[in-house]
Each structure stands twice: as structure tokens, then as C-alpha cells.
């Protein structure tokens, strides 16, 4: 983990409301793993006050890429950054995905959950590991990939304009039916409703699944105790404990096994 003065190389619109930025950040780029994030200082002034966590969406040589959705003042400011601008990044943070050999990875991303999923997708490709990539969106305009199930890329849209009509979970059912492999691991990241639906589905089906959670963060490196994620535990809630029921998304996560989440 370092604080690095990164430099914006490019920044632009990727799809409806979604932007992508590439930054030169040699130190972070040299060690970041898929599923990890950087905590981005938005302003030298105090608005916004806190850093904004952003998953790393790609890495090449001395660069990292982000994919972000404009939802408030911080991401709005990010969208206005221009090439050459210096940006103070803290990272890489968090645990990242763990890919076990011997199971077929199915990657499920929705909304800006595509960021950590894209990074994992590229890493798996680089390592020649066959896998399926499934992306969900409300509308075709939010997609930037082509629907190509034969190339292991499946898209879904709520309104059916592109790919399979339905949610990412509907798409996942189709993909799982087509897969010959009987041992899969699912890697998921997306907006809260999708994460909840995915968690319920995989837990119901008994499928191993790693989910990247998005909690509001104060620091991003374990000192504020702000980013609690509730886990299922056998611990009696009346017995005193620490970080058994509530883990910290920034250092214990952001990736958790779906069956562990409450």
C-alpha cells in the first residue's frame, strides 16, 4: 500500500453515465490484483472530504484503469479531470479475488461492478484460463461489449435491447445450463440489488461464489472501523467478539464468499 501521485492519461465516457479513466501509477500498477481498489483523493480542498474508493478495472505496464459511474459530487468531479492532471491515490487496497484451479470461473458484473470483473476477465485471458463473462445492464446503451455467447461473453438487459432479456441472474441461469463443466466458481460485483439477488441465488443453489461488496468507507485501510459488512456467524451475539460478526470491507474484503455474508 502506497500513496502515489498518479497522472491522468485519458478520461472519457464509456457508456450511458459510465466513464473510464486511465492513470499512470507505476507503483500501484506493479502490484495490484483483480478485486483490489484504490482510494482516490477527489479534492485538495475539503469537498468532498473523504477519498472515494474505486476498483481497479485494468492494468497495463505502469498504468491502471478505472471504470466509474457518476452518482454524486465526487464522481462528478472525477468526470471533469483532464489528461496530465495529478491525482493522489492510496492503494492497492483490499483482498481481491482468489481463483482456484480446477473450477470454471463465471464472472458476473452489473453496473459499475464491471470494473473489478473486467480486470479479472483480462487477467484470466492473459493466463489462458477459460471462463465465461456475463454482464448485466438495464439498457443496451449501458453496455460496451458485444453479446457473443460462443466467445464466452453473455450480455443481459432488463428491457431486452441487447443480449438476453432479463436480469443478470436470468442470464446466469442460461449460462450455467450451457456449461458442460460441473464445477464452477462465480465471481460477482454489481449494484446492491444485483448482489442481493446473486447471493440468494448462489446460496440457494449451493454454488461457490465470491462477491465484491461496496460499503461506504472512511479511510480504506483499516483505521476507522467504518466499513462494516455483516457476516453469518455461529457466534452468540451476546458473547463479546470483534470482527467476527462485522468484518471490515477495506481489509477483510471487499471480496467475501457469498455463503459467509449475512
Amino acid at each position: 500500500m502506497v500513496i502515489e501521485e498518479a497522472k491522468v492519461r485519458s478520461n472519457g465516457r464509456l457508456a450511458q453515465g459510465i466513464y473510464t479513466m486511465e492513470l499512470t501509477a507505476p507503483v500501484i500498477a506493479s502490484s495490484v490484483q483483480p478485486g483490489q481498489f484504490v482510494n482516490t483523493l477527489i479534492s485538495e480542498g475539503w469537498f468532498p472530504l473523504l477519498r472515494r474508493p474505486m476498483s481497479v478495472a485494468s492494468r497495463s505496464d505502469d498504468r491502471i484503469g478505472l471504470i466509474y459511474k457518476v452518482v454524486g459530487a465526487g464522481t462528478q468531479a472525477m468526470a471533469s479531470w483532464t489528461p496530465g492532471q495529478q491525482v493522489n491515490l492510496l492503494g492497492p487496497l483490499g483482498n481481491g479475488w482468489t481463483v482456484d484451479e480446477g473450477t470454471f470461473p463465471v464472472l458476473v458484473g452489473g453496473g459499475v461492478g464491471i470494473a473489478p470483473i473486467s480486470f479479472l476477465h483480462e487477467e484470466l485471458k492473459d493466463h489462458g484460463i477459460e471462463h465465461h463473462l456475463l454482464m448485466g445492464a438495464r439498457d443496451g446503451s449501458e453496455h460496451y461489449l458485444q453479446h457473443a455467447p460462443e466467445e464466452n461473453i453473455t450480455l443481459t438487459t432488463d428491457n431486452g435491447t441487447v443480449g438476453i432479456k432479463g436480469t443478470a441472474i436470468d442470464g446466469l441461469k442460461v449460462v450455467l445450463n450451457l456449461l458442460s463443466s460441473n464445477s464452477v466458481t462465480i465471481f460477482g460485483c454489481g449494484p446492491p440489488p444485483m448482489l442481493v439477488a446473486l447471493k440468494l441465488f448462489v446460496n440457494d443453489q449451493g454454488l461457490p461464489c465470491q462477491l465484491a461488496t461496496e460499503e461506504i468507507m472512511g479511510c480504506g485501510f483499516g483505521i476507522c472501523q467504518g466499513c462494516s459488512v455483516e457476516l453469518k456467524t455461529d457466534v452468540d451475539h451476546h458473547q463479546p467478539s470483534y470482527r467476527q460478526r462485522f468484518k471490515l470491507a477495506c481489509i477483510d474484503g471487499p471480496v467475501f464468499w457469498a455463503h459467509e455474508l449475512a
Binding site: 500513496i3 475539503w46 473523504l50 462485522f246
Partner: protein
Amino acid sequence: MVDLTVTLGDKLVLQNPILTASGTFGYGDEVPELVDVNQLGGLVTKSITRHPREGHPPPRIAETSAGMLNAIGLANIGVERFCNEKLPYLAELSTAAIVSIAGSSFEEYQEVMKIIEGRQPRIMGYEINISCPNVHDGGMEFGVSTYMTEELTRHLRELTARFLIVKLSPNVTAISDIAKAAEQGGADAISAINTVVGMGVDPRTGTFQLSTGIGGLSGPAIKPIALAAVYKVAQAVTIPVIGIGGIMTVGDVVAFVRAGAHAVQIGTANFRDPGIGIRLISELGSFLEELGVSRLSEIRGSAH
């Protein structure tokens, strides 16, 4: 040359007046690769309770205008793990290590302190977080009652010869009375302030921004409240005051000193920039040099 050392009463000399605030820098050992804590004037640990605490459900944090709300719920490892896992590290530090203690009854505070004292640790002192609800008194905070503040301080004073700081809550009608009560009880110093009661509501859904509804506000938004509190307390007591609340710049540090603070603690600012404390130390030297001031005592309490 500017001399940044500060003497707090006759017990404690700090190499400089910049400390980290409780709950905003963990136990000090989390980010050795980012910050050399030994350069700080001191560090105050996360508040320790008798037993480990999970803290509150999410969301525990929300950003507000120039500040943040939190409802961490004193998540901490508990005094036993603290003694085993953190005291050895704190003992090795050359900077002043101050252990923050919290509890919901007199007995709990006392037990925590007894257990730590029993280890004869190499720590400089304690900071007593009195912003915790007293379970025996219907949840009323220790820090809102002069009686409870004085009694609690007295009980803890009996248990330790180490430097004893009482940390005040701003959520009271007369903070100087509480400060006097802590002084009466035997405190060596006062620190002020803890977070200001605050709340956030999502206008669309009506949901609270924190799982607990009400929480504590910190950051630049509370700096004027903190300055006024420090000023009032410094007028009311003879023991040293440590200023806390919204400190982000070297100018803020000096303003707190001028309001009467001997030293300051940096809280929320650490989340943006964990190295801020160390940066402020070097900036403070230059700032004072420009003012033609050679030690902080020359300008302490000079606000007029």
C-alpha cells in the same frame, strides 16, 4: 530555531504538539509503510473496553458538508487482546503512547485500567473517553454530568500515577463546568472535543444515513465548535488542554494554540491523508518561524 516540544504539566514532555486522535489512527501499528508514528508528538489509541466489541451494523459512516458522521459503536479488540497484541508494540515507540479507555460503568473503566496497569506497560498515559452512555444511569453519558465526571476521574486517578487525560464531549450545556469537575477529580489534562451529535437523512427514501440514526459529527465542520470549547475550557482550568476538532491545516493548529491549547490531536484528516500529522509538524516549524515565535508557549492563549 523553533522549539516544538511541549510540556504538559510536570509529567509529560512531548517532542511536538501533534498527536493522532482516538479512533482515527487505529492502534498506531496498522500502516507502518505509510507513517513513521515515532515522529508524532504522540498517539492516542482507539478506545479500549473491557470486552471486545463488534460495533454497529452498516452504514457506520456518512459524509456531510465539510465533515462526516460516524456511528462506529466503539468496535475494538477488548483489553485482553490489547494487552497481548498492542502493548508490546506501543512499548517500543519513542513517541508518547496514550491509551484511550471507554466503558459503560465506573467498574468497566476501572477494570480496564487495572488490567493494563497490571502489565506495568511502557505507555505514557491514558485518555478517558467519557462520551459513553452509562448503563447504570439510564444511558446518560458520563461526560454530561459534573458529578459523574469528577467521580470517574477520581476513581481512575487512584489507579494510576501515569498521565491522565479526560476527553470532553461538546454535547453539554456548560463544558467549563465539566472540565473543572475533571480537574477536581485529579485529571492531568483535558482534551476537547469528541464528536458533535449529528444526523443525516436521505431526502428521497427518508432513511437515516447511519444505521443508528444519530451519530457523531467530525471534521472541518466542527472546528469552530471545538475552538470555542477549547477557549472556554482553557479559561476555566489550570491544567493543560489538548485541542481536537476539524484540524486540517497548520493554521488550524496555531489557532487552537492561540485559543489556549498546549497540544492538538488530528482525527478525521487522517482518513484523507494518513501522513498529515507528520506534515503538519514540519509546517508548524516554518509557520512559527515566520511569526518570529520560538516556542508555542509564547502564543498560547493569545486569542483576543
